[in-house]
Point group: C2
Chain length 446, copies 2
């Protein structure tokens, strides 16, 4: 195999990717940082350095006078490696690549992020994965998650089911964060009762950025997939701004609540099931005793991967919403409508009239745009009117999960099952009670 210009250049100075170096540049400027791998986007003659301040810089090789290896002031990868104790025999985990930022790199020409990494590339960047599990990889597709469809959910479910049938100890799905919660809900339905951990994971920053959460999220997801003693579909994402805690969220109750922060994901209405601490310890929250989970190896999956591609619409109510536009949606050929009502699950009088017109053909289900809390249509006149015309309230189910569930019921059972299955708790999508999972802190405001 011929060596690249990049490799030849580094060899000249006796350094390699990952080294902490000082570079003498442009006739005297000195810069320190970590040598980054070449990307397929950076030019052949461009060297990428991750500076101490967190920024990446690209330098033309012909302007570089010297490169010297230094002792690094810090190194996350070294720190991580030390804390992972290699067990006698590693669990077998299959990584299924779907897409997203965790499989991306910064394009140094445009500054944008492009999807261009294989799972194997990830191992180059994060070699510690090989200490955590015996890994097999499948590239199923490479899509940003906003482009996924119910048909894609079915394909992902099938790939996970195949891994399960092949006897793996756990599955990790690499997935974009935008609609991660929708897909994790979909698999929570399609693979009900699965008795190995299926862990979705993404990252908010691409893996070649110094602030990337890709490494910690992926390593924690692998550890959870290999070592958790419960089965089910979960999401592993950064819990706080610090690196040492990754939360294991319930697949039907997780939501992306920040556009860019690494700790964007939250389990709604409950704490996460567990926290992975320092990549080597699983700490279950009290939720594990409150709800019932399938023990690892203690169940059998009920595999129903059908999802209707069309037929369900998710509609957010707002004051002043034009009933005639809602009429267009109701008459568009859908079988089910999930409404994000206001407060306990309300819409205006004009909308109620349109819903009533179509309710024989289009079943209507009510969630709340408040996100937290439970719908209740028995408190106010508006709610009682909605109950009277046949709208079905969904307790504390997330609207996004409700949309996925309706698509699953249509695809796996048929329209006649909507009314009974939608308000039936499945995979913790409706909780028997709400848990005090949120606290407010005011001390640092005043």
């Amino acid at each position: 195999m011929t060596r690249s210009i990049y490799e030849v250049f580094l060899e000249r100075f006796g350094v390699k990717v990952g080294d902490y170096v000082e570079i003498v540049y442009d006739g005297g400027k000195r810069l320190r940082g970590v040598l980054m791998p070449k990307t397929i986007f950076s030019g052949e003659d461009i060297l990428i350095l991750k500076l101490d301040n967190g920024y990446n810089i690209g330098m033309r090789m012909d302007r570089i006078a010297d490169v010297r290896r230094l002792e690094p002031p810090w190194s996350r990868i070294e720190g991580v490696r030390k804390t992972v104790e290699r067990p006698a025999s590693l669990p077998r985990v299959r990584i299924i690549a779907v897409g997203g930022t965790i499989l991306s790199r910064v394009d140094y020409r445009t500054g944008g992020v492009r999807s261009a990494v294989t799972p194997e590339d990830l191992f180059d960047i994060i070699p510690e994965v090989l200490d955590i599990a015996d890994i097999e990889t499948v590239v199923l597709m490479n899509k940003y998650s906003e482009h996924l469809t119910p048909g894609d959910w079915a394909k992902i479910a099938e790939a996970v089911y195949r891994a399960y049938r092949d006897g793996v100890d756990g599955v990790v799905v690499l997935h974009g964060t935008d609609t991660l919660g929708y897909t994790s809900a979909a698999l929570s339905y399609a693979l009900r009762g699965i008795d190995i951990p299926v862990i979705f994971v993404g990252s908010q920053r691409s893996s070649d950025r110094p602030s990337s959460d890709a490494a910690v999220n992926l390593l924690s997801a692998l550890y959870a997939a290999g070592n958790m003693d419960v089965g089910g579909v979960f999401v592993a994402m950064h819990h706080t701004t610090s690196d040492d805690l990754v939360a294991i969220h319930l697949g039907t109750r997780v939501r992306k609540n920040h556009t860019s922060a690494r700790y964007a994901f939250e389990t709604i209405g409950a704490p996460p099931l567990a926290l992975v601490k320092n990549l080597k310890e699983i700490r279950y929250t009290w939720l594990r005793d409150e709800l019932s989970f399938v023990k690892r190896g203690g169940g059998s999956v009920e595999y129903r991967p059908g999802f209707a591609e069309r037929g369900v619409f998710l509609l957010k109510f707002f004051p002043g919403m034009d009933p005639s536009v809602v009429r267009l949606v109701m008459a568009s050929g859908i079988d089910a409508l999930v409404i994000e009502g206001s407060g306990l699950g309300h819409v205006s009088q004009g909308i109620i009239e349109v819903l009533e017109e179509f309710i024989e053909e289009v079943r209507v289900f009510m969630a709340s745009q408040c996100i937290w809390g439970r719908t209740n249509l028995r408190v106010y006149d508006t709610g009682r009117d909605l109950l009277r015309i046949g709208v079905v309230p969904l307790e504390d189910m997330l609207s996004e999960t409700a949309y996925v569930k309706a698509s699953w019921i249509l695809g796996s059972f048929g329209k006649d099952y909507l009314d009974t299955l939608m308000p039936t708790p499945i995979s913790h999508d409706m909780l028997p009670r709400s848990f005090p999972a949120r606290r407010r802190c005011v001390d640092d405001w005043i």
Copy 2:
């Protein structure tokens, strides 16, 4: 005036509404609690007792053997009265009633809540209001907030403007909580620069329920309206589960984030501007120094109360969304579409094509369904495609506020101003930076 059966009955035992009593009932049962006022819904011969455990109970008078006044083990109303120091001269505050739970009582026949209280009735239930301000009241309408329209926002703006012209020191608007944030945003635009406090307030539990937040919210709102030294449109609601803190939220950045909890409201992307502590002290957060606020009496209002009744649609994107349904919405005669995209502000390829088809006639603005964080269309290909076709990103503006703003621009300026005014920061609807307003607490989970 003839006395009611209720009054005559209480008089017989020498007790009155608000007394803590022991009742001997049904031949021996003893119950303790606070005598509640008769409601127009309870039967003439039914006595309502608020028990120590928090529940209300109705008892037929002919089954009551004895009623004795006792020293109350606690009394929130007494506690409140003691802490309010009556100033030499009280500020003049106008209360404008719009509707909602704060103007409601439980209907003891159905268990539901019905809108049936005037501001004057509130004074009977919460007499302390008279210690806080010289109060004048206007009943503008009596609507639950899910039924309000942009035309109603204009009426409310007009009533507040009239109060301002009449020289009041502050205004309190009693309003349903469901769409409180939409209306407070509307008035933040319609009354830009107003140099007295306009405080929206609601309650999550009706005022005759023991757990009601009506009293604390109303008293705090009145105190803030009379005593804050900045002008602007704000929302006063319970901050925590404890009674002593009520937050003063920014009108354009407040959201109802729980269907039923008293602390449902949050300022998004920043701390609230202030906290009213124990009904007698305003503590500003550091936000007051970070952003610029109008000093009380130091500005002049720019009154523009026009809102388009139709013409704007707020649409939440979801994976698998049918482009043909979006086409129906785009072709329905609207002038502007506000999208709640996924993540940084994304939609699927099929939706982008539909938006592009109509973008000359229908201007498209992008917010995020993540709620927290900032849109950014420059990071991923999907975002750059949206920018290319002319979609305008709205930074950290709430989608609900964006919908209200578009309606205001159409109603007060005209369609040609959408592209310039929508992404222009007004009344703090877009912040120059995001503030660390949320912290996670994990200690109580494990």
